[in-house]
Symmetry: C2
Subunit: 122 residues, 2 copies
DNA sequence: CAGCATCCTGGGCGATACTG
DNA sequence: CAGTATCGCCCAGGATGCTG
């Protein structure tokens, strides 16, 4: 859990979701876990841009927020598996909708984002 | 537009949406504009926790990403109105779904979030 | 009323290295 | 294979004050 000093404002549903989903890789984690990629190394491979440290941190937060559960198998070598809780599963349709919207508008979005990036260059 | 140095990875729809919606108040801005609160001062009043500066910054990004459009009326005192573009409107159902999920699970979420906050304290 | 400039800081996140 | 500790960067966003 990140050491947040200030208490966030939780005025509406948007705020609440923002809190739980706040983290660069959380939606992706939920998504991939739902897809059946449950082991840390597997998730790491799916999200190579993220560091293991942050992946673990965010996984921990997702656990604390009861969106995922973690099972540790007492074997050698160590084996760990994450799963979505029912609560977490209930978020999947929304994440799917977001991803779908993004995919449907991928070309336009890419263009706009790139344009935005170069704007400050000149 | 924030002066981002590093080029973001845009691997999937989730990334793309993440880019356009990245900003503490963007979803709320889109939401309130859709609700008919179009003027800066009005939005400010709706989102008192945000500073005017950041509101303007994010509004500008939303414009650059063609989610909202801005109309400046040449009158005194100055009058400005924001509206959603068709593109922006197409995001509303998703934002609504997110807010709804948050509202539906408000009690549980609040509890979990608060618990998470106090955890590092001890 | 609307918008910009300046200064400042918190904390998210990456890199690396070490333990079991 | 899984997880933690340390270090440091960087930039989003808050506060304040000035312009038209």
């Amino acid at each position: 859990m990140y050491k947040r000093k200030i208490v966030p404002n939780l005025n509406c549903g948007l705020d609440l979701v923002g809190e739980v989903l706040y983290g660069k890789w959380k939606m992706r984690l939920l998504w991939f876990i739902d897809q059946g990629h449950k082991r840390p190394s597997e998730l790491q491979r799916k999200i190579p841009d993220a560091s293991r440290r942050v992946l673990n941190l965010q996984l921990k937060e997702l656990q604390d927020h009861e969106l995922v559960s973690k099972v540790i198998y007492p074997v050698v070598p160590p084996k760990v598996e994450y799963s979505l809780t029912a609560f977490g599963k209930s978020l999947i349709p929304i994440i799917a909708a977001i991803g779908e919207w993004g995919d449907n508008n991928a070309d336009r979005l890419k263009e706009l984002i790139i344009k935005g990036l170069s704007e400050d260059g000149e």
